[in-house]
């Protein structure tokens, strides 16, 4: 699997004879038994894309159903299964792994000047674990589904639901170990395998973001694992620690569940923020404003994210004193995110800005993430949360962050590093068009949902009062546009792998070690491990790579 011939001259035209990680070996075994982080990243890319469209299909069915107040498509029981599976698949099988397992796996070793991650076989194992978990969940989806909501709240999930609670919980439990192994690999790699001269404060901010995300993977995921394990036991034994009959507290389940699931939302956004720092700097031709603030804010988010989970439980009967603590801490956690937005904006100021597709996604992120984040403050405030909890306001809030934020950052990153990963350029005209379609479709889908929530429409309901129909129809129309918007990149990106123009090592003129290798890179990444002597985002220097040791 290692290459023996590597052309190290930049821009050398001998593409067809050059050996790189994609053509170093052929055959299905060379892919299914690979330990090359770049190939594993592609294995993940394929699986995650599949799960995205499966989860998206559930969303499409939901929005079609909701064009009529009495429901247009399915029975209420089925509707419950649709929103549950949409949530489970999108959260656990798309958003959580998305950037870390694809872009993270591909880029972490390259950005730090390493040949691979610290534990390549664990990396492959983590993909197989993901696949096994996904199979359990998909099996459950087609053999009865799940109707508890992705949150699995007890006692409905432990005692009353007649759906496939245990198989889905098992699928999520298993996939959690995939995350844990990825996080473990990243932490050890970043600590121990940086190239000489690459101090912490010379690292790309994407690496800081991956490190912070990995901390959450490591410290949070085991708790949801034990929680789902306990839920499964209670369901199978018909007795357990959440059972009030023996003195149990169903709310305790929620404490354990949200202890992971709140930091999980930061797992979903931190990598996107890391991508943002890379995109904004490259397409403004400027170094990041306030590097240490952005880097430390990633760490602050990772830490504070573990202190706020009770804000999901304000109306459950949780103690008001705990609610006060969680509310204050939730306001606090907004600060590091805001710092990032200020710094990205300041980076744009007086930058030389170009509007290729990755930058369109990045600019969209700034606006949409800010809206999502600000609406979170309404929810962090105890009194307003009483009105807004359980309504479409929450749905809109998290979709602005997860879709308007995380998915846009993911697409921006995929587009940005696509030439590096595949050695091909995609058609930028179509890419910009798709980005605009996605932006319009997204806002049309989710902005009306803020209004619906404020007006009182509850979430997870299969029917609704007739006065909400107009807004629902707008949202469903937006969803159709959004769906088409997502299909367009799928088409041209796949097309480009065969027919796109061949890419040079650095089509964007970006800074970073990954851009100093050929596109696609050789299996070993670097013939010689570089020695680093300058800071990150050295856009002021017109001759990249000259100062390398």
């Amino acid at each position: 699997m290692s290459s023996t011939v590597t052309d190290i001259q930049h821009g050398a035209p001998a593409e067809s004879s050059r050996v790189h990680y994609l053509n170093a070996n052929y055959g299905i075994k060379s892919w299914l038994l690979t330990t090359d982080h770049k190939r594993i990243a592609l294995l993940y890319l394929g699986s995650i894309t599949l799960m995205f469209f499966v989860g998206g299909a559930f969303a499409v069915l939901m929005r079609l159903h909701l064009i009529e107040p009495q429901g247009a498509l399915v029975e209420p029981d089925t509707y419950n299964k649709l929103f549950t599976l949409h949530g489970v698949i999108m959260v656990f099988f798309f958003l959580v792994p998305s950037i870390p397992a694809t872009l993270g796996n591909f880029l972490v070793p390259m950005m730090i000047g390493a040949r691979d991650l610290a534990f390549p076989r664990l990396n492959l194992l983590s993909w197989y674990i993901y696949i096994v978990g996904a199979i359990f969940t998909l099996y459950a989806a087609i053999s009865g589904g799940l109707d508890t909501g992705w949150t699995f709240y007890t006692p409905y999930s432990s005692s009353f639901s007649h759906t496939q609670v245990v198989p889905v919980a098992l699928g999520v439990f298993i996939t959690g170990f995939s995350s844990i192994l990825t996080g473990l690999n990243f932490v050890v790699t970043i600590h121990k395998m940086r190239a000489p001269g690459l101090t912490w404060f010379r690292l790309p901010l994407f690496i800081w973001a991956m490190y912070a995300t990995s901390i959450i993977f490591i410290l949070g995921t085991p708790v949801i694992a034990i929680t789902l394990f306990l839920l499964g036991l209670e369901r199978l034994l018909h007795i357990g620690i959440f059972d009030p009959a023996i003195g149990g507290d169903p709310i305790l389940f929620q404490h354990l569940f949200w202890f992971y699931s709140h930091p999980a939302v930061y797992i979903m956004i931190l990598p996107g923020m890391g991508v943002m720092s890379e995109l904004i700097t490259c397409f403004s031709r400027k170094k990041i404003f306030g590097y240490s603030f952005v880097g430390f804010s990633s760490m602050a988010i990772a830490v504070i994210s573990f202190l706020v989970w009770g804000h999901h439980m304000f109306v459950t009967g949780q103690s008001i004193y705990a609610g006060l603590i969680f509310s204050v801490l939730s306001f606090l956690v907004a600060i590091p995110s805001a710092i990032k937005v200020f710094n990205w904006t300041a980076t744009l100021y007086k930058g030389s800005i170009s509007y290729q597709a990755p930058m369109l996604y990045a600019l969209g992120f700034i606006g949409l993430f800010t809206m999502g984040g600000l609406t979170g403050l309404f929810l962090a405030s105890l009194a307003t949360d009483v009105h807004l909890n359980g309504t479409y306001f929450i749905v809109a809030h998290f979709h602005y962050i997860m879709v308007g934020g995380a998915v846009m950052a993911y697409l921006g990153g995929i587009h940005f590093w696509w030439p590096k990963i595949t050695g091909r350029l995609y058609p930028d005209g179509w890419a910009r068009f798709a980005a605009l379609v996605i932006f319009v479709g997204f806002n049309l889908t989710f902005f009306p949902q803020f209004m619906l929530g404020y007006l009182g429409m509850p979430r997870r309901y299969a029917v609704y009062p007739a006065e909400f129909q107009v807004l629902n129809v707008m949202s469903s129309a937006g969803a159709s546009i959004l769906g088409i918007g997502y299909l367009i990149p799928l088409i041209y990106l796949v097309w480009s792998m065969r027919y796109g123009p061949v890419a040079g090592p650095n089509p964007w003129g970006a800074r970073g070690l990954e851009w100093e290798t050929p596109s696609p890179p050789p299996t070993e990444n670097f013939d010689e491990i570089p020695v680093i002597t300058e800071e990150a985002y050295d856009y002021a220097n017109p001759h990249p790579g000259v100062a390398r040791g």
Binding site: A118, H191, K192, I218, A245, D249
Partner: protein, 232 residues
């Protein structure tokens, strides 16, 4: 004895993503410590639930605890502590260049002690509890003499079985790992230069011991101060 003479540029077991054995060794250790942190949080979830319910239902927990046999718990604690000693001695033997049979001796001794732990737990304690109808979900019988808190005694036993069960599962996995290590040792894989798998597995084994160090007082000794007055 290991092939120390034929290590060339890199000794056996060197992985090419690293620069040298030192980096590999450090990465392996850090990796195992990070994994143990995930285990702290995994068991931690159970311990946190235990803390909640013990605070809310202390009388029921005391009653349930008194129904456990402290002698078996204490004996098992001693067995596990001894197994940690033998594990440490196995690593020490490799580090100081002892013959591979010495390393294997200590590894096998560790496995025997681990198996003894499981034997005591499953064949004496758990079987007894099952026969006495003290296993939640398997015909648990609330005794009338337990009084008002009787309904919550099953909660204590849920924790007893879940926590010792999860711990036992980790022991079984540990014995599996030790088996692999013993086979590796028999092939002469370990010496003063290369013993990282032993060290890293030792960390895991000691962690499982530490979990039991907490399980023993938290499960067996809550109602202990009544034991002389009648116990189980």
């Amino acid at each position: 004895m290991a092939d120390t003479a034929i290590h060339n540029a890199h000794p056996s077991g060197f992985a090419h993503q690293f620069e040298d054995m030192e980096q590999q060794h450090e990465a392996g250790s850090l990796g195992m410590w990070v994994f143990l942190v995930t285990e702290i949080m995994f068991f931690g979830g159970l311990f946190a639930c235990y803390a909640v319910y013990r605070a809310l239902h202390l009388p029921a927990f005391e009653l349930g605890s008194r129904l456990l046999d402290v002698r078996f718990g204490a004996a098992n604690t001693a067995v596990l502590i001894a197994s940690s000693l033998t594990m440490a001695l196995a690593i020490h033997a490799a580090q100081t260049g002892k013959r591979k049979s010495v390393v294997m001796y200590y590894l096998v001794l560790t496995m025997i002690l681990g198996a003894a732990f499981l034997g005591i737990k499953f064949t004496f304690e758990w079987r007894h509890d099952f026969v006495e109808h003290l296993v939640p979900g398997f015909g648990f019988e609330v005794r009338p003499e337990w009084g008002a808190v009787g309904q919550q005694v099953p909660m204590f036993f849920c924790f007893y079985f879940f926590m010792t069960g999860l711990h036992a599962l980790h022991m079984i996995i540990g014995i599996g790992i030790l088996t692999v290590l013993t086979v590796m040792a028999s092939g002469g894989r370990f010496d003063e230069q290369y013993y990282a798998p032993l060290e890293v597995s030792g960390l895991y084994w000691h962690f499982v011991d530490i979990v039991w160090i907490f399980l023993f007082p938290l499960l067996y000794l809550i109602g202990g101060h009544y034991a002389m007055a009648g116990g189980h």
